[in-house]
Every structure is written in C-alpha cells, then in structure tokens.
Amino acid sequence: MSATEARAFGIDIGSTTTKAVAVDDGGDVIGRFLEPTSPFVEDQTGRALAVLRADCGGADSPVGATGYGRKRVPAATRVVTEITCHARGAFHLAERPGVLVDFGGQDTKVIVIGDRGEVVDFRMNDKCAAGTGRFLEVILGRLQVGLDDAPALVEQASHAATVSSTCTVFAESEVISLVAQGEAVADIVLGLHRSLASRVAALAGRLTDHREVLMSGGVALNRAMADALAGALERPITVLPEPQLVGALGAALAVLPVQGRP
C-alpha cells in the first residue's frame, strides 16, 4: 500500500497500450498500470482500477478517461481527449509551455501548449499510421530486430540507408529489397528512424518554431528515435519522465479535486 492515498486516477486506453495512474494531492504519480490494450476494454480498465486502488487506496476518488477507448470506461467521472490530456500532463511535468510531440502506437500528435497548460493548436496524422510507432514496430519485426535492441543497433550504423516510402506496407517491401542489396541491418534501422523522424517533422511544420520541444508516448522510450527527431527538427528535445504515462497523468489531473473545491 502506498504511503499517500490516491486523490484521482487517470486511464489512457491507447491503440497499443493501456496506461493507468494514481496521483496524490499534488498531481504526482504514486501508482502505475501498463498492459497491451485488450479488446475487452471494460474488463481491463476495471482491473487496472482495482490494482491501483488496492495499492494506493482512493476508493471514492474520481477517474479521468482518455485515449481511443475512453468512452468504454464505466467508472469514468470525466472523459477527455488525449490531446488535452497530453498537454495537461506535459505541462505538469515540464512546468512550462512548449510544443509536445506525442509519439504513440498508431497516431502521432504535435501539440502546442500555452502558458496555462492549455492546447493552443495541434496536428495529428490522419487515416495513415506511417508516422507512428506502429511503422517502426512492423518494419523492425520484418528485420527480426526487437524494439529494445534498436538504439544499440543504431549506434553501430556507419550511414543511414535511404527509406523513401511513406507507406508502412510499401516501406516493408522497400526494406526487404535493401537487405537483398546487401545493406547492413544497422544502417537500415538508422534509415528507418530518420525516415520516421522526417515525417513527424513535416507534420509539425512550423509549430515547433521558437518553442521548446518536449516528447512523450511509448516511442519516446527509444533513445534513438528521440535523437533522430532532434536531428530532423534541428533542435534539442526534452523527453518527459515516464513518457508513456503522460496521457494518463493528464486524465487524472483533469479530475483531480482542486484544494478548496470539491
């Protein structure tokens, strides 16, 4: 059992992973839950809450839900989109405005965060998962490289192989032909990271001008991807702590009672 009792819970049901957190009075994370998203969202979120409540208490504390499965959380006190939640979570962690690149499993969002943690503007990929974590997962899978092994492999690369296709399916065949041409796997993996980063940089467009770039989402755990994105945007990037949980944290903050207000 946690030393402090949970004052709010946040659940982020993403296309790939379900994340849930418990937060204390100050909005700091005191409990966490992560699992691959199950098709049975109601059961999974019920279980996530049970686990967090067993660990952190807060039987009556409110629940914020976000992510693509947000409408299927029976316990939710409030339902908020992940764009707003990521902005709130990132602002809470960074304590300053900026532009957040949330690199998720099947969508990538670029969110401009204002002085109060509000969403000023945002862009996201539409109808195509080419600029997302799924792209990397599929192609690395084809090369039989684990997601966790990618950063070490990138360090061994002598140059970046050119991967020009913007479609995940076509990129898969392009990568196979690169292998057939004798390109080293490490060089292809670096090329993939750069290709993905350039797509996200194009999505961000001029939104990153004159703003600090923050990064969240599961893909941010991949150090090589953060480096590639910094290269594509030609500026340093701050990867937020526990980047996968930023959306869930924002959902919890959306329902966290403010002191003096119920």
């Binding site: 989109t81 764009i83 707003t84 969403v119 996201m124």
Partner: protein
C-alpha cells in the same frame, strides 16, 4: 407529347401534392407514436415540411419531364434563371449526388462507376451520378433524360469532364460556360468573354427548347431569381442574433430551393415564410440548438452522410455553426446583380463564385463572416472530393489564428464518400478542438 405533358402537369399539380399530404399524415401518426427522444437541438423549424413538399413534388414531377418539357442537366454554378424562361426542367447532378449520399446509396452507385473504370480519386458526386446513369438506380425513382447538358467552370474543372460524360452517354448537346479564374480584380476582357457565351447560351436554349423568349420574360425571371437569392441572404443574416435561430446544418437542407428553384415564385414564397419564422424565433429567443455557448463558421461542402452525427456532436457540446461559406455562396453575388444589365451582371456574378476567385478574396470573405456573425471558431472541412474548395485551407488556418485569434480545426473527410471518413479520428480531433475552448 400531349399525354406526357398531361402526366407531367398532373404530377406537379395533383398527384404529387396528394402523395405528399398522405406522406405527411403518415409521418404525423408515426411522430405521435414515437415521442421525440432527448436531443440538444431547439424546436424543429416548422417550415421544413413545406420545403420537403416543395422539393419532393419537384423531383416527383421530374419523372415525367422528358417528352413533356425540355430538360437540362446543369451544374450548381450554372445560371438556371437564364434557362427557366425557355421552359426547361432543371436537373442538378450535384444535388442528386448529395441526396444519394444522405440516403446512404453512394457506395453502391460509386461502385458501378468504379467498375466501369472511373478512379476513386474522382469527385464522389461525379462517381455517384455516373454510377446512377449507368445503372439506372436513383432515390428519385427516375431521372428525366436530358435534352441538353450544361456546366459552368466557376466551381471546378471536374464538372466539365463529368458532365461531358453524361452528355455523351445520352447523346445530347453539351454546353460549357467557361469563366476564367479571377486573380485580384475582375478583368474586362474576361467578363466580355463570359458575356459572349451567355449570348450564345440564349441561342442554344432557344434551339433546344424550340421556344422564342422575349427580353421582358427573361428580365422578369431574372428579377424573381434575384429576389430569391436576396431572401435567402436575409434568412442567413438572421443568424447574426444570439442565439442564432437555426444552424448551418439546417441551412444545408433549406438551401435546396435557392439552388434548384431559383427564378420561381414558389422559391420566393417559401423563403418569405421561412424568414418570418426565423424572425419569430429570434423574437422568442429560440435557438437552433438548446444551449449556444460558442459560435462557429463552417467551410466547404457539407459531409452529407455524417450530417446527423456531426450536428449532434457539436450541438451537444454547445457549439453552433452560425454561418458557412457553402450556404453563403448562393447570396454572395446579390450586390453585383444589376437588373438593368442582365447579361453583363450575370457574367460578373458567375465569375465571382468563391471557388473562381483567389485565396485572398476567400480570406476577406471569411473574415467578414467571422466578424459579422460573431464566430469565435472555424472548422475547415478538407474535402477529398473537392480539391478547389480545399486547397489553401492550411494557409487560411494560419492566417485566421495569427490575424484574428480565432480557434481553427481542420478535418479530413469527403462530402459524399463515407469510405473516406475516419469517424474516430474526426470525432477525436473535433472533441479536442471543442475542449480547447474551456
């Protein structure tokens, strides 16, 4: 010919109205049985039934139009008021495409066109209509065969190829009215070029219809048409009040007469009645939605297959579309409409459509709408089917955000093809947009 004409007149004057009365009686009984569920909208606009009757009888009568009166299939930007005096029954393939989309018939009809080799990248209206022509299937029961097909390039270039395909299919003459694109101000030689074509149109209309029409008759219909467009504009302007008595989603339906029946007394009588009702709603503080917290501008053609879902989404969050560039299109040229210069002012009006002028003009117009209607946000529908309407929207977004400080969302969809609509992504984006107002 006489029998056919009799059938046509009976459909318009007797059987059509009787069928509509029966349908209304059936609907009333059904409504009594099924009490309305809780919804976020204001009371329904009473005139709507009359508009549906007007349009349904018009479409119903169309089943017997060919052989009875001359029939022209024309594009939405074509000057129907210059055809009407010749007795033409006008069919609008674009309206037909919208109707098919709203009735969820589009994918099946488009599949017929796609199987015949028309690309999925073509405008969904074009694919729907071509599919309908090839298969003979239509929600109208039957479309009258054209004697003339006519398109104006003032809305897009696709109409030229799409309508030519229809003309070739039926083996009838095809008239192109070419309006050069306007960069900056109008150019005299462009307007002369359009005016020359309008003179030629009068000759073609006379030859196809076999009817000689006096200048007085042409002027009379032209006057009626201008009055219709003016009344439509007045109806739109009522939404400057808070709360706006109707929504742009309502307007998408109520615009049918000004597009199709422009130049008829029926059209004008309808808009007079609608205007009275809207003014009455303003006087009684009745809004288009129950709780209008924010006011928005809609840009581009309606997303017909998802109109209901989208109107619920916005209304239930307190957002009302109080104005739209699309519905505004049928009133924007009224100030240019000079009744003493029918041909010259028509040339200018036809060239003045939103999609025939540059982005600077569009920005100016939208800025005026935002200011006049007190909109605090804009939704730009990036329409996969309508490239001329969608090009430049990201520049508009930047300009509105930077210069006017209004919030702007872009959604990617299609005016008719539901296969190009990713419901979850669109709704997610719009929810986030609405949350940003909190």
């Amino acid at each position: 010919m006489i029998t056919r004409r009799l059938q046509y007149e009976l459909a318009g004057q007797v059987t059509g109205p009787i069928l509509m009365a029966l349908e209304n009686y059936r609907l009333q009984r059904r409504r009594r049985k099924h009490a309305p569920k809780d919804h976020p909208f204001g009371p329904p606009i009473a005139c709507s039934r009359k508009m549906k009757d007007l349009m349904s009888i018009y479409y119903y009568q169309g089943r017997w139009a060919d052989g009875a009166v001359p029939v022209a299939w024309i594009s939405s930007g074509f000057p129907v008021e210059l055809m009407r005096p010749f007795g033409f029954y006008a069919v609008y393939p674009e309206n037909h495409g919208a109707l098919c989309a709203a009735r969820h018939m589009m994918p099946d009809l488009a599949a017929v066109a796609e199987e015949a080799g028309y690309s999925q990248d073509l405008c969904a209206y074009a694919r729907t209509d071509i599919g309908s022509v090839l298969s003979g299937k239509t929600p109208l029961g039957r479309m009258p065969r054209p004697d003339l097909v006519a398109a104006c390039s003032n809305i897009c270039q696709t109409v030229l190829y799409w309508f030519r395909t229809i003309a070739d299919h039926f083996g009838v003459p095809f008239f192109i009215l070419d309006t050069p694109y306007v960069y900056g101000d109008f150019k005299d030689h462009h307007l002369d070029f359009v005016a020359d074509q309008l003179e030629e149109l009068a000759v073609v209309a006379r030859d196809v219809s076999g009817r000689h029409v006096s200048d007085e008759e042409l002027d009379r219909v032209n006057r009626t048409a201008k009055e219709g467009a003016r009344l439509w504009g007045e109806c739109l302007d009522v939404s400057r009040h808070r709360p706006a008595p109707w929504t742009a989603f309502d307007q998408f339906f109520h615009m049918a007469p000004v597009v199709t029946l422009r130049g008829t007394e029926d059209c004008n009588a309808y808009y007079r009645e609608l205007l009275d009702e809207l003014n009455d709603r303003v006087a009684r503080g009745i809004g288009g939605i129950k709780e209008e917290r924010h006011r928005l501008l809609w840009d581009n053609i309606a997303i017909w297959p998802k109109l209901r879902e989208l109107s619920w989404l916005f209304a239930s969050n307190g957002f009302n579309f109080v104005t739209a560039t699309y519905t505004n299109s049928w009133r924007e040229s009224v100030p240019l409409w000079d009744l003493d210069d029918r041909v010259g002012s028509s040339a200018k009006m036809l060239s003045n459509t939103l999609l025939n002028r540059d982005l600077r003009n569009r920005f100016r117009l939208m800025r005026e709408l935002i200011s006049d209607f007190g909109a605090d946000g804009v939704v730009l529908h990036s329409d996969r089917s309508c490239k001329p309407y969608s090009v430049g929207q990201y520049d508009l977004k930047e300009a509105f955000t930077r210069e006017l400080g209004v919030k702007v969302a872009v959604i990617e969809a299609d005016h008719a093809d539901p296969r190009q609509y990713a419901a979850e992504q669109v709704e997610n984006r719009l929810q986030a947009f609405m949350e940003s107002f909190q």
